[in-house]
């Protein structure tokens, strides 16, 4: 069965966010798009702290989690050969975005140091393995990233961190425009991008289920049954 955003996004959270950002027509287009996967973000669905209590570290850690999601998404598609089979211009787009997202992960991780959260376990449900699924998910993800950064950047307490997040925000906005150009839609459909709250993005990510419970591969107190 071909998975679509409609199937994955049963609560329409992702489509809703796309509709807000890009207009209902684009959301409707994506609704029927083969995507693949909706089992991932349970970990992110954990209760969020009240907005007033959100610290710069909280925001950076959520940003790290989101950047890891993106970086793994592009890296998997690249490693699986999905990107290699694309036309040259599209291949370059996917490779550049992947490299950018990996550099974002590296720097945020370095800034957070010991306060950096653990890497989640990702399950993209096959979308990194097909051109169509990858492309459509990338478009939605880049738009969501812009909305996230627009929402959280003004909440930063440290002005120099705010300035750094602005640098990420404008870069991600370029990514989003490039992604939309790749699928032949208007790179900038609206005159103003509505910001999304941390909780709103968290819930959207949770519904995509790209962050999954890690497999249990270690056991304590279980007697080995190996041949010895």
């Amino acid at each position: 069965m071909t998975l679509t955003l409609e199937l994955l996004d049963r609560d329409e959270a992702l489509l809703e966010s796309i509709a807000v950002l890009q207009g209902d027509t684009r959301a409707e287009l994506l609704r029927k798009a083969a995507v693949g996967g909706a089992a991932m973000l349970a970990t992110l669905a954990a209760p969020a702290p009240a907005s007033a209590a959100v610290s710069d570290v909280d925001i950076l850690n959520f940003g790290l989690r989101f950047e890891r999601l993106q970086a793994t998404f592009y890296t998997e598609a690249d490693e699986f050969g999905t990107v290699r089979k694309m036309p040259a211009a599209k291949q370059r787009w996917a490779e550049v975005l992947g490299a950018h997202e990996r550099s974002h992960v590296r720097i945020i991780k370095r800034i957070l140091g010991r306060k950096a959260g653990k890497r989640p376990f990702f399950d993209f449900h096959g979308v990194t393995e097909t051109d169509d699924g990858f492309t459509r998910t990338a478009v939605a993800m880049e738009d969501l990233t812009v909305a996230l950064l627009a929402g959280v950047t003004p909440r930063m307490h440290d002005r120099r961190l705010t300035a750094a997040l602005f640098g990420l925000l404008t870069t991600e906005a370029r990514h989003a425009a490039w992604a939309r150009h790749i699928v032949n839609t208007t790179p900038s459909a609206r005159s103003f991008d509505e910001p999304r709250s941390l909780d709103g993005v968290r819930a959207t990510v949770a519904r995509t289920r790209f962050i999954a419970a890690p497999p249990r591969m270690t056991r304590q107190k279980g007697r080995p049954r190996f041949t010895g």
Binding site: S103, H125, A163, G167, R219, K221, R223, P224, G228
Partner: protein, 260 residues
Amino acid sequence: MRRAALVGCAIGALAAGAVTAVLGSRSGEKPTPALRALPRPIAPAFAPGPARPLGSLRHVTRWAPVRRAAIARREPAAHAAPVTRVGTKTPEGTTNIVRVLGRRADAAGALWVKVGLATLPNGRAGWLPRTVLGGYGSVDTHLVVDVERFTATLRMAGRVVFRARVGVGQARWPTPRGRFYIRNRLTRFAGATYGPLAFGTSARSEHLTDWPGGGFIGIHGTDEPQLIPGPISHGCIRMRNRDILALAKLMPIGTPLTIS
């Protein structure tokens, strides 16, 4: 709405002022006092380093957990001959993982994944629908056990990071040779026979098939370190306890295992 419009006008005016200032300075006019007073941009707290393309995948191996029990097939098609049933749990109760060897879409566009199987005869592969697997994990480690020289060597991204002497199967219960993978890790179990820690592998004894759990080969510690190195076990790979603990710090689950 009105506020947004006002903000928009203000930004527009500022931009127009900036353009005027730039053009003005080029034409020799003095910048306005307001713009001269603008502070320098706030220095960002960080800036990402250079964006680098993916490195070599030469040493990368992928694995995936089995989320739903399924029949592995000889070809990537629902009607292809079955190879074996693949469950979601190992005999030790941990999540069953499979080594990913390849992927392909069938005629209907459904994805299939070629996986290494923990079944007899050793070394078999089969195709599972992508939908029964979870997300992919990856490792850049590789453990090589030489049953002739009684050594275990762990490489990380191709570089040797660990080496130890081992005990292997006796002549009547030989350690199977071939390409396998590490499936799980057990700790804090009762009894000293297996030492403080044991790794489960996808390798199976071809002689002790009625062993509880199916005769899987483990890599573990021992309460008889004086017997190492040598052909001393029922097929398992034994290490001195300090060695197995050192290995555990370096070797993730999913690591490919070559026994030669």
